[in-house]
Symmetry: C2
Subunit: 68 residues, 2 copies
Amino acid sequence: MSIEWVASRIKELRAKTGLSQEKFAFKIHMDRSYFASVETGNRNVSLLNLIKIINGLNVSFEDFFRGK
Amino acid sequence: MSIEWVASRIKELRAKTGLSQEKFAFKIHMDRSYFASVETGNRNVSLLNLIKIINGLNVSFEDFFRGK
DNA sequence: CTGTGACTAGAAGTCCGTA
DNA sequence: TTACGGACTTCTAGTCACA
């Protein structure tokens, strides 16, 4: 488990939603440039923001971390 | 999903290890009082520290979030 | 053994623009 | 559409004394 894995998992699932970074960030009330840096693994995101993101992806935490 | 849920889940699983907060915190190279505040839900812990803690609990992320 | 308030440094997070 | 950067504000990391 690593920040990079979480980042690419977010990217993978966000792509599945069909939304751009910008639209997804807007949907979950998060700054678009900040969300972009999370998705590229350049940020040590806090739990509250991770909850926000995973909720926005419409998956459970268990599913998000499936296989890890 | 909430900080409180994560906090109590940490407490639950840490108790299962049989270690005190102090000993567990020492094991994962984290300050005892900082870990205590995480376990009581008073901190919005970052992903890196959450990874450290969950690894120390010897469970997978999937197991940690089981049922959520 | 555990919980908490206070504190500082530095990172998180926001808002703007640009390629 | 995404990535990145500057400048800014807010908050967490990490520590300590004390209860």
